[in-house]
Structures are given as structure tokens and as C-alpha cells.
Symmetry: D3
Subunit: 226 residues, 6 copies
């Protein structure tokens, strides 16, 4: 039994910045993970072909499948075509976990991708919004512990050389600092933070180990607090 | 490996109303579950001894441990003594999941128990606020599927005969309706809904089954959306 | 003296789902009620002509006037043309009460219709947002008691046979459950819930009946609480 | 048929400042109105006896009943005793409309009275929070048109001479300005603004007048927007 | 050392209504101020040429530079072209303070201009959202004292004769009332109110005057509150 | 002309954690700064005398005045006595800037000090809420650039040796990470972040330097965007 995860971002590097650590944690747990980059990444610094190669190297380093939406960079609309594009990815991956931009963001493509994904994923039980450097409002309450995955996230980011070198918004030092900041909020060392759109917690039975806290036999008593 | 759950409520029946289905789901998954009723339930309709027996029957029907805080009903403060009471329950149960009232509620005890539990559980990684009939603001984003546990919840509630018969706030028909309402929001049949104070999603590795969606061998390719 | 009500929805059945009970209550109070379906309902399950006939039967069963906007389903924009369409309906009906989708919704048409109606109704004193099954954020504070109108709402919904049979979002059982859920919040048996955009409460003089609580003569005294 | 209104405030002049115009509108509509001042007004500028006489003159000028709670000024708690005090007033007045302070306020008594009233009025269908000069967060959505009642509100306020003369928070000029400000929001000339805690809109049948907008006979047709 | 301010509005008079007093305060402090009207003001009451002349007179009366964006009135989109237009104004003015519409507004152009400006100003350290008569949600926390600038604001507004005479939304009496209302919130006589998108408070060293509160010499002691 | 700043915290080290960098910036700008520790710091790890000495060393290192409120640690109430204590500090310092805990916090003393300070500072024009490690909700919009003051903040924190060594909540590494995280939000290198309760921006005239952006002479022209 594994989960199937679809992470949606507008541009190359958006997904890695927002939830690269969580994706590494999903892969470590044996979950299938697909990244959908909605545009073709035409407008960032550097040549498009180079950006695509960077994104593929990053997906490879995270051991995730990568799908390109090829919409026009900086001109994404949350219209029926964009929604249909994301719906196809949801069908192909049969995803039961979706990661996507937070809705309030200063980049117009991020806003559009967030809105279109909320539309496309209307039947999915787990939709988590990640933070981008351009996100404007973000009050997270769900966290993934990435203490053992932060290096992997930074490795994936470093694949996006053209962005790291030239965009003020992509700074590995800030990424690590934010992971520490959110880790302190989550009471772990490093964390990624999410705003849940809708999150059905799967309380699957776990195997009972011998050192369980409370024995089954003496469990139904009543106590008064000392 | 099991989770340890502490559910905190001000009065007998608060916990069952708010998260009885989730507690049943935790028990079905093999988790240890303790219910802490912070007061002695002195002020509701019916004699106190009767209410205590009802609460013990309800905990028994949910197969959960019950602890009484014995604070004075209708006079709970979110002060150091109440916080210490809850801290002791947290230590005894080594809980890593806490359920408690939502902070905005028209009952003063509910407000106080919510605030005191947030204080006591400041190092716990999962704190989920449940809704009571008297909750005034509640915008949930985390859900537990209770389709197979609703009957158990209603059974537990029915143990609180003195409340069900005389309190306008305790109505099994409304409990079932709300579970259906929140189920539709969660895209399941019946659900309980929660506002996450802080929720670290544990992405534990699950056993890999033979029919996994994507084979490990052909996973790292790149695709373009059709 | 009657109120004039305009209910605006993107598709056939949206209005019935969101505020069908309130519309029945308005009709029972003698108010004029017009339903404006902004699209032609081209994209849902079933043939368009059938959907239109269903919508007309539903409006008929609620004893309301029905106007079709005939915009393209799934492609509504909150632009000047859509706003003008709604403004015309406001002028024709001289509406002083407007019902419309809540702004945060996973359907793009619902978002657009909500935004366009807020623009068009900028001078109207009562704008109430209703909930759809696809609404994502909804914290209601205004309610209409529909205890005596729920059957009428369900009858109107049942006219939309093609939707009830094939859309996971349209489920009469959930509609009744939500009415009970919101009824409990409103302290009535069944209610529809609304988020007020702007609501001027009309404190019209009511006829004074003989059994008024406090006689006019002894009213101006001062008392101290016992 | 009349409404019964209970307005609750911590100190003399709080109610007049917050909802004096709405109370005048209720009286003009024939509703019974009771003002409950929870403290004895001991701590403001001026002698207590004088303040009490001012409050009684103000209630008289609004033609409302006045009840004194006589709790200690600046030391109100939202505890069971305060809640019981307000419950008694609710029982005596059988109020179905309650006005009270907004919950976020820089005065500790205002916060306590708001919380205690929310508790006491848990079964009341209409609870509206008014704004005080010391309110810190206030996003209103319900309004009462006080264009024909502003003078009455200012007259009532002027009865509180000791406050108007010496408190920086009580300034009739600001009261009129705020009424104009909120009036513009409500699309009327002068308004008082409220945050609804819970508001069940009573759609009582109104008498049908001869010049109704739409005749009953030709009402059930279907139209297409031009 | 001076600040450079860019105020962005959709139509002639939007900027004056929203932050005309603050702009006057900036000019009085020696700051450079530029007004960018994003449309050409084609759709309001009155001829376009007249409206442009009015806007230029108003900018002149405020002693500010005026730039016309010339986009089509009532048809502004928050797309790449609009964002680029605002980016050019930011580059030309090297603005470190930006004023713009609040995001929630019943006018579609206001929403679009707010969103596009948030995108364009993503690297600017101070972005303040002002209120328009059509703003729907607005909870301000930053204020500018305009007690000595209100007349200037009203003078600038009065230049927009065609609007003042014919638009229900432009009413100098309401403007003054709102300034008094927000002034009371800000603890000054008249204020304009803003929602900060992002506000870096510049704690520049001020010249030390002889009557400073605390002498440098005796500053490092410790005291216990009496 | 200088500002007078009062920073209020419940315990030793709260103020340094929350706004130590901003206080250093105020001192660098020549402002008077007073720190009010409301309790005596009795309950933390380490002897009380030692904690007091640490707090005094920290205040000394920040070059700020320190006042002790001496209320009982873990038992602070937002009552009239606490409010009066803070009012005395406000009077003594004639503060026009107040820093204090954010209202939503898992420590009961932090909640009480925040509420009492909001009451005491009801006439102050600038009240900024800082974040503590125990803060539960915090959506900042006002920032102070502390790039040149972070070392000073960390030095002050390091004076609180007993806390740094034994409290999981006080971790200089997290403090630096959060400053980087908020710095990225503020578009500076390191920042402290604040939620403004009320912030009147003082647009004092700055001296006009020769290299001002726009000459006074050619300022009143009109331009059309290229």
C-alpha cells in the first residue's frame, strides 16, 4: 500500500522550493511522486532548454517523475484548459495527495496554478498548499519533518543553477533558515510547512510491536488524576 | 509502533461529541487512547455519580482509558493548576496526539480547557481542535474518516443518557447530520472535522505491496503532458 | 410592502442547493423572487435542453421567476460583460436582497459569478453568500430558518434529475444533513447558512399585539438585578 | 408581534455608544428594549451616583428599560456569576435579540462582558456585537439604518455629561462621523455597524400592498436575459 | 535623504480618495511622489478629456507627478502587461513606498490593479493598501496622521468635479467623516488608514535634541516598579 | 527629537527574543528604550537571583533601561493591577512606541501580558506585537531591518545563560534562522517581524540632500507611460 503524490508548480524550481523535502520523505516512505510543472519555464533567467534540463536533473535527484504542462510562462490563467491539464495529471497518477502553491502570492502564475489546482483536485482528500518566496499570506498548521531530507532538498535546488545564481528569490541559505524556522514551530529540527486546503488523516492500522505503551489487558480501568 | 492519543474535554460527553469517532478509529488502528475529563461533571443535568458512571460506560464502549481531573464544573480557569493537571496526563500517556475543544466556544469551561491544553501541549507535535455544539467559530481543514466508526460514536454518546435526554445541545440526530455534512467536505461518507493547532504529518514508510502504481525501474523518465 | 429578491448562480441547481429553502421562505412571506442562472448549463451531465427543462421545473416548483444568462459554462469571467448581465437583472427586478455563491469555491465559474455579482450589487443593501458543495471556505453568521421549507427545497432539487443521478456533488441526503447541521448552529431545526457581504437589517415597525411583553405605561422604571 | 431586545454593556454609556441608534429604531418599531449595565459604573470620571443618574436619564431618553448588574467596575470576569447575571436578564426579558460588545477590545471589562454574554445567550438566535471606541478588531457586515435615529442617539449620549466632558473616548463628533462612515458602507446615510455572532433572519410575511412589483398571475414564466 | 513614493490607482480620483492626505504628508516631508492612474478614465461620468484635466489639476494641487497608464477602463486584467506597466513606473521612480487599492473591492479594476501592483512591487519594502468607497473588506492597522493635510485632500478631490457631482461613491462629506473615524482609531484627529502588505519601518537616526527624555549618562541602571 | 520605546515581556529573555534587534536599532537611532519584565522570573530554570542578574546584563548589553514588575511567574492575570503596573511604566517613559507579546501564545503569562498591555497602551499610537517561540498564530506585516543589529541581539540573548542552556524554547540558532526567514519576507538580510496592533507612521520631514531624485522645479508635469 503506497500513497500517490502529485506536486504542482508553475515554474521549474517552484516545487523543489515549496515541498522538495516532503517529496523526498514521500519517496523514502515508498510513495509514488509526480511533479507537474505547469509552464515550460520560458521566462526565467537563462535559456529555456537549460532550465528544462535543470528541472529534469532536479526531479531525477529527488527520484520523482516529471511532467511538463508547457503553458506559457507568466501568462497562466485558472481557466478550463489549465484545470483540464491538471485533471489529466491527477487521473494518470491517481494521486491521493496534492501539493500546490498557496493562493496568496505576488506571482500571477502562482495564483493561477493554485486556483486551477484547487478546481482540478476537488475530489482529492489531501490538498496541501506550500509556501514560495513570493507568497504573501501564509499561516501554516501542517508540517512534514524533513530533518533527514533537507540535504536532498538543497541538492535538488542546486540543480537549478540558473535560478540560484540569478534570482533574488532563490537562495539556499534562506531555504535552510526557513526550514529551521518552521522546524521550531513543528517541534522538530527542520520542517516544511503547509496550509491544508483539505486533509483527511489516514489512521491506517500500524503493526503492534511488543513494547506498546499500554497492555490490552489492563486498559479499561478508570483513574482519577493525582 | 503505535500512537498514543490524549483527548481532553471539560465535561462528560464533550470528548465523545467532539472526537468519539476519531478515537474509535485510533483504537481500531491499535493506538492507545486516554480521555481526560477535566471537571467532575458536577453541573450538568442529573446526579454527579450517575454522570460519572455514564462517562465510564462511554469510555468503556470506546475501549479507552478514562481520567478524571475533578476540577469544579463551570469554574475552570486556564491557570497554572489546570495546565499542570493536563501536563501530568500528557506525561503519563506520553501522548503524541492531542484532541481538545476549539478555542472559540460559548461555554467558559471549553474556552479554558482549550487554552490550558494549548499551554500544556506546547511540545506535542499534533494538536487537533474538535467542535462542540457550543463552538462559535470553526473552520476545519483536517478530517478523520469515521464511516466505519459512526455507530460506535453514537453508542458511546447513548451511554450519556442524562445528557441526551435533557440537554438541547446533545442530539444524536444532529451528531449524525454533522458527520455527514463534514463527510461531504472531506469527500468521504462520514467524517469528524478538526482545526489543526499544529499537525506534523508522520510519513512513515508503509510496506510496499506487489500492485504498486509505478514500478521502481521505469520511474525516472520525463514526460510532456498530452 | 414586499421585498424583491435576486438569487444568482452559475449553473442550473446551484441556486436551489445554496438557498432554495430561503427562496421558498421569501415566497411564503410574499416577496418577489427571481433566479438568474448565469450560464446556459451546457457542461453538466445530460443534454443541455434537458437541463434547461429541469431548471424551469425547479423554478416553477419554487414559484420563482427564472432568467437565463446564457454565458458559456465553465468559461465565465468576472468581466464587464458578466457584470452588466447581472446589473440588468438587478434593474429589472429592483432587487433589495441578493443571494450568490460564496467567493472561495473550487469551481471557477462560482468564483467568477460571486465576484461579478459583488461588483454588480455594489449599491444593494443586502448581499448574502450561500454555500455550494464545492465551496472551500465558509464561516456563516446569518441563517434562514427553513424548517417548514426543507421539503420544498428537496422537491426543487429533485427536478434536477440529471444532476442528482450523476454528480457526486449533488446529494439530497447531504443537503438535508447540512440543513440540520446549520439548523443546530442557528438554534432552529433546519437552516440555510449565509456569509453576509453586507446586510442592512430592516427594522420595520410590526403591528403591536395585545399580549406584548411589557406594557407601555410601566416601562421607564429602573431596576437593579436581583 | 414584537421583538424583545436586550443590550448588554459593561459601563454607563457603552450601550448608547455602541447601539443607541439601533435601540431607538427598535423602539420606533414597537419592540421592547432593555439595557443591562453589568457594572455599577464606579470607576469612570465623576461620582458614581451622578453616573447612575446620567445612565437613567439616557435610558429614559431612549425609552428603554434599564437594569444595573452592579458588578465591580474594571474587575468584571467572564465567570459563572457574571454569566448567571446575564442569563437572569435574558429570562426576564425573554429577549430574542441581544446586542453586546465586540470580543476584541482594549478594555478588560468589555472583553469579559462580551465573553459572558456569548455564554449566556447561547440559545438566542440573534447576537450582534457592537463597536466601542476601545474595540481593536471589528469587521462588520450587519448594519442598522439610523438616519432618523442619530439625533436620539446623540441626545442619549449627551445625558452622560460626566463622560462626554472628561473621557477622550467619548466624543459626539466622532460618533456622528463613524455613523456616516458606516452609513456609506451600508449604502444609507447614517448607520450603526455590527459583527453578527449568530443572526437568524426572520422572514415574516409582510402585508401585500396593491403596488407590488410583480403580479401573482404572470409570475411563473421563464425569460432569457436580453 | 528623501523617500520616493508611488501611488497606484485604477481611475482618476481613486488615489486622492484613498491616500490623498498621506501623499500631501509625504510632500510636506520633502518626499518625491508620483501618481500612476492605470486606466485612461474612459468610463466614468463626464467626457474623458475633462476627467484627464481634472486629474491633472488634482495632482497639481497635491504637488505630485502624474503618470497615465492608459489601459481600458473597466477592463483591466492583472496580467503580465499590466504588471510590466507598473514595474516601469517603479523603475522610473525608484519608489521605496507604494500605495495601492485594497485587494477586496467590488470594482473589478480595483481588484486587478491591487493584484498587479502586488506582483510588480514584489521587491519593494513598503506596500500599503488604501481603502476605496467600493472596498469590501478592510481591517487597517497602519495610519497616517492627516490632521494638517485633510483640507489639501478635499481640495484635490474637489478638482474631480465630474465625479463629485455624479458618483454616489464620491462624497467629500463621507471622506471627512471617514478621516475622523480612522483618526479616532489612530488616536489622532484625522487619519488615513492602511492595510500593510509589507512595511519595513525605517528607524533612521534622528538628530538628538537637548531636551531628550533620558540622559545618556544615567541610563543603564535597573529599577523596580513602585 | 527622539522616540521613547517601552518593550514589555512576561519573563526575562522574552523581550530579547521578540524584539532585541529592534531595540538595538532604536538605540542606534538615539531613541530611549525601556524594558519592562512583568514578572520576577521566578519559575524558569535556574535560581531567581541568577536570572535577574542575567536580565540586567542583557539590558546592559542592549544599552536599555530595565524595570521589574515582580508579579508572580506563571500566574499573571490581565487584571486591573497588571494594567496599572504597565500604565505606570508608560507614564514614566512617556512611551510613544510599545512592543509586546502577540496575543495568541501557548504560555498563559504571554497571553495575559499581551492583553494587559493592549489595555494599558490604549492611547499610544504605535503598538507592535512580537513573536515568541511559544506564539501560536502570527501573521506579521511590519518589519525592522536588524542586519546590523543581529549580533547585538544574540549577545543579549547569550547573557541569559540559564535559559539558553536548559530551555528547548531558547535556541540562538533558531533565532538567527528566524531572522533570516523574516528578512527574506521583508526584502532585507535579517529582520524582526511584528503584527501591528496600531501603527501611526510618523512622516516627519527629513533633511533634503543635494542628490534628491527629482528636482523641485520640473516636478509638476504630466507624463504618459511609455
Amino acid at each position: 500500500m503506497t500513497r500517490s503524490v502529485l506536486a504542482v508548480g508553475a515554474h521549474p524550481d517552484d516545487i523543489e522550493l515549496g515541498c522538495g523535502g516532503a517529496l523526498a520523505a514521500h519517496r523514502a516512505a515508498g510513495d509514488a511522486v509526480t511533479m507537474l510543472v505547469v509552464t515550460g519555464g520560458q521566462s526565467g533567467p537563462g535559456a529555456t532548454a537549460g532550465r528544462r534540463a535543470e528541472a529534469e536533473a532536479a526531479a531525477c535527484s529527488l527520484d520523482c517523475l516529471l511532467i511538463w504542462g508547457n503553458l506559457v510562462d507568466c501568462a497562466v490563467n485558472a481557466d478550463a484548459a489549465t484545470i483540464a491539464l491538471i485533471e489529466r495529471a491527477l487521473e494518470q497518477t491517481r494521486a491521493d495527495v496534492v501539493y500546490v502553491h498557496a493562493p496568496d502570492d505576488s506571482h500571477q502564475d502562482h495564483r493561477a496554478v493554485a486556483a486551477a489546482t484547487v478546481s482540478a483536485a476537488r475530489h482529492v482528500r489531501r490538498v496541501l498548499h506550500y509556501r514560495s518566496p513570493s507568497t504573501t499570506r501564509f499561516e501554516p498548521s501542517v508540517y512534514v519533518d524533513i530533518a533527514t531530507h533537507l540535504d536532498r532538498k538543497l541538492d535538488a535546488l542546486s540543480c537549478h543553477r540558473s535560478q540560484v545564481e540569478s534570482s533574488a528569490m532563490v537562495d539556499p541559505e534562506v531555504v535552510a533558515a526557513s526550514a529551521r524556522h518552521f522546524g521550531a514551530q513543528a517541534r522538530v529540527r527542520y520542517a516544511e510547512a503547509f496550509v491544508p486546503g483539505r486533509f483527511v488523516w489516514d489512521l491506517a492500522p500500524l503493526p503492534v510491536l511488543p513494547d506498546d505503551l499500554v497492555g490490552a489487558g489492563d486498559y479499561l480501568m478508570t483513574r482519577t488524576a493525582a
